[in-house]
Symmetry: D2
Subunit: 164 residues, 4 copies
């Protein structure tokens, strides 16, 4: 099974800029994470954007949808900031890629921090994408949700089920 | 969905003893790993053993089988050393717990090391166990294998498919 | 020898806020760092401020000077943001605590990040403070400088000697 | 000031062998540690041995003494396993390099572990070596000791003063 990972940035890829003291984006950490996970899946990593998901707009979502449509792999993982992950999931669902399994995932803490949840979530998303039927899903907190049955609880930072 | 994690030790839980300079086992790191992964699954963690899997014998495997049989949860993850993981998977398969999905996982590098694959594998195993049909599986390197279709390549450290 | 550590925040103590995605201050990491360094010095840790050094003003510096003056220990380490560390060093020098050795130190990357220089710098500052004669010093990059013979090169992030 | 670092292995440089599950030595981590500490000292790193200090014998100590004697730098840090560090310090002292300051240091936990004290100790040793008068010292736990006034307490793992 071949899997495509569409990287869009998000907390996964935030780094600390020593000179300004601010968080910023440079390159994605996904290849390093796959290496650390000793991942042996056939994976193609494609960087679509490198932004905070609060900056993700209609144009950005259109690009993600186009890249998902162009993917020859039928299993797609999208790394994405958590704040607007559900909106991007909806955009992907509206695009009706009915033969594909698409799983969005993100992190609460940047991978570059010692305490990041990133490796757990990437392992989770890559596993769900191999076995779930075609559809668009969010994988966070060890769980998976249909794209229309989930929201981020902004008070707790946890993704939770809502009636789809 | 409720999940039971049966902890048996393995590289997951190896620690460094400052006084002797040797690796040893104390308590499992699994609860800390679940916390770091912001896992929100209903999980019960049960320590069955705390040993290197080279020391796992028939008696130890019998105990694991018994604990799996006694589990009220139908989704079970077993953390296990990689060297004899496949044998324990076979023991679980022979026990014909036909209504349960059992996923064994492990790590190549102890969780206490900065470079561990543990978090990736735990996220992977917890995801597979939720969606795979009943059976006994090994989840390593981002992949899953039927218990009778996998071996550890001891030269490369990678789990690979064999004809089941 | 007893040592007092005056904590003022700075990059040392920046943490990542999962809910807002921003860096912030909570508690100091200095005790955890001393523990990890297996430090056996007699150390008293006192939090004077918990701020970015760009926010350090005259009032804040006056408080630091007062706390240094009140210290019964003659060896004092001040943890401080790097941007205005040299100004605070000057304020301490003008206060003419002529019997005390005062060493300021900081970090370029927060301790909570895997790649932090914090532990190196704290080990360095605690060592210099034990053996340097009374005076006010900056300890960064493995080096020590007299308070009036150093500046932070804001382009490179490195502390370098200037004519005192 | 130029500093020579003589690397002899010890816990500093222990790594985890994924295939055998054992700790072993490969290359020294010292250059990576200097880089992480943003060290700007003029440092030459020379690997003299790469062994557990329990395996350090007379021949090995003779080599260290010779390398210290050959060093054009008058400030020398020796990284060394903790178990026999004091013996090697004595060998260096007997060699009467009276114009040189030699500081031995080590770690309780390998640098490759998340919880290592290595960076703290290296920062400490590099600082002491710049300011202590000629002599042979052990720097551990944030403290420094004359070579003939220290022992490792094997029960606690801590270096402590003894009458010299």
């Amino acid at each position: 099974m071949h899997i495509r990972i569409l990287v869009t940035g998000g907390t996964f890829d935030k780094e600390y800029d020593e000179l300004t003291g601010r968080l910023y984006f440079r390159d994605t950490h996904v290849p390093e994470m796959l290496s650390r996970g000793r991942c042996r899946l056939e994976v193609s990593v494609e960087t679509v954007a490198m932004i905070d998901s609060l900056e993700m707009d209609e144009r950005g979502r259109t690009t993600i949808v186009e890249r998902a449509r162009a993917s020859v792999e039928r299993a797609i993982v999208v790394t994405h900031g958590t704040d607007t992950m559900v909106q991007t999931a909806a955009a992907l669902a509206y695009a009706r890629q009915t033969s594909k399994t698409i799983v969005l995932t993100g992190t609460m803490v940047p991978y570059a921090f010692g305490s990041s949840d990133g490796l757990f979530n990437l392992g989770s998303a890559l596993s769900f994408v191999q076995v779930l039927p075609p559809g668009v899903y969010v994988a966070m907190n060890g769980q998976h949700f249909n794209w229309n049955a989930v929201r981020k609880n902004t008070a707790s930072g946890v993704f939770e089920a809502v009636e789809g």
